[in-house]
Symmetry: C2
Subunit: 307 residues, 2 copies
């Protein structure tokens, strides 16, 4: 069983830890904040990392916000950041479609289950899409829909991809469209497959449950996921930031997404914080999803390294 090194309160161990890395990939919810509550000392900790020449990248499975929208959230929470430091699963999906899939026209349109954040990221990559926030799909299914979806006359023949993200306006009509496109051979992508997400000190249905699970159940196919712990996301991050994986550390609160993501991505290290979902007992368990190389009680414990 791998051991995890506890850094809280040990300034020299923290210094040695920081010296190993040039880049920190940092999960947001459960690390920087919980819901609308920012943890103490987060801004100062990020400042300390940057003052030591470290690059910080915020890696989130949130698919409802584009990078500029997510940047506004950082601002509203008083956390200094640059929009270019933010890497969400909507952006990751857009990058994957435009730079890895590279479908030839005309059959390269994307049918979206999701919100404006996904649409905005697809737009910045020049990707054509339908669905998403289209108000004409926010209604009950009608006899004309049954007929036109079944015979294809209401379907867009140029759709080559179905991208399932978190859609607050999910309904039967949208799922019926998405399913037919998959039946006709569209590629099945998911921004992420998180079953739930934390909100108001509880959990709510996540992208993986709202769009991806129904479609997977209908088709018997699994989507390519573009969020943590999928390595498709790591490849996209590496491509954008030209990082040296050995000198990169993933910081997160979840073993099954963040820490697994870092380990499977063969990063130089992983750091768990105890302000979110996973607890020490989770990685000390025999069937642990992943074991972090290091852990602290909270992100701001790294400030003990300050000179």
């Amino acid at each position: 069983m791998a051991q995890s090194q506890y850094l809280t309160g040990d300034a020299s161990a923290i210094n040695a830890f920081l010296d190993k890395f040039d880049v920190f990939l940092i999960d947001c919810d459960g690390v920087l904040w919980s819901g609308d509550h920012v943890f103490d000392g987060v801004a100062e900790t990020l400042e300390m990392l940057r003052s030591r020449g470290k690059k910080t990248v915020f890696v989130t499975n949130n698919s409802t916000k584009s990078r500029p929208e997510y940047h506004k959230k950082f601002e509203s929470m008083g956390i200094p950041s640059d929009v270019e430091e933010i890497f969400g699963s909507a952006y990751s999906s857009a990058i994957y479609i435009s730079r890895i899939l590279k479908l030839p026209p005309p059959q390269n349109k994307v049918f979206v289950l999701g919100e404006a954040g996904i649409e905005n990221e697809l737009r910045t990559e020049g990707i054509r899409f339908i669905g998403g926030t289209d108000p004409s799909l926010r209604r009950d299914i009608t006899p004309e829909d049954w007929k036109g979806i079944a015979d294809g006359s209401l379907l867009d023949p140029e759709v080559g991809v179905v991208l399932a993200g978190l859609d607050w306006h999910i309904n039967y009509l949208k799922l019926s469209h998405a399913y037919q496109y998959l039946r006709r051979g569209a590629i099945f992508l998911a921004t992420n497959v998180d079953p739930t997400f934390p909100m108001n000190h509880n959990f709510f249905p996540g992208a993986g449950s709202i769009g991806a699970a129904p479609l997977a159940n209908m088709t018997g196919q699994k989507p390519v996921a573009l969020g943590k712990p999928s390595q498709a996301m790591m490849d996209a991050i590496e491509g954008k930031f030209m990082l040296n994986r050995e000198r990169t550390c993933m910081i997160g609160d979840r073993l099954d997404t963040d820490i697994k993501f870092g380990i499977e991505g063969k990063l130089g290290g992983t750091l768990a914080v105890l302000t979110g979902v996973s607890k020490r007992a989770d990685w000390e368990a025999k069937d642990a999803a992943a074991v972090p190389a290091f852990y602290v009680d909270r992100l701001s414990d790294l400030r003990a390294a300050e000179r």
Copy 2:
């Protein structure tokens, strides 16, 4: 590998087949009709069975219609039937809740994902329920919902069961309610877990994909299913009709639901028809879901037995 006996065109084999059984459990879609198209000779075949003293029971996973509603469908299609011969998964669910679960009050209310057919069947069994077609849940989720669902103030403390059926008005708000009830310990039932259902010569999202799959993905739990091939449904049928399983035959078009249902229910026989989903090659395959004891090209081939 079990062998399947082909009856079409062989009057003496059909007579021998009919003599084995007193009760025929008959699937509807793919056997009696396909969508709105009734197969030729269906009414006459049912008449022939009844004239020989056979009991006919129509067993369907359709959860959107109550028995009286489904009976109207039979009438509109010109198929003689009695409402008491109809056994749908909504009714099966109501029977299971009232006669098998028998939850003590007050925590015995059911949160329904589904349409009026389910509500009507729950009412006939005197079961209290919320959700379903309640128009106040047919809307977007609001900040007040996030808060009240998370802290429980918007939840009904008397809910002890979540019943997931086919809901044409599925949305994020309803799924959030259902998920919270399950998190709080409600029993997880599904009218059926069919991934899709046939419509307009194509397939559309089924009950198993719309409600059950998202909730299963969120909770990591599997529901107790009250439709074919779940034996909970067979137990309910047996309880109602007091049938002798050895003298009962299941007739259907799907190996993975109908034929499996009959075999696992230890019925005296199963008969496959080729007017629906499964084909002969399906049960001749090595990994066949189930092998019917008998098969005909179409239900009306049984009329060759007429004297």
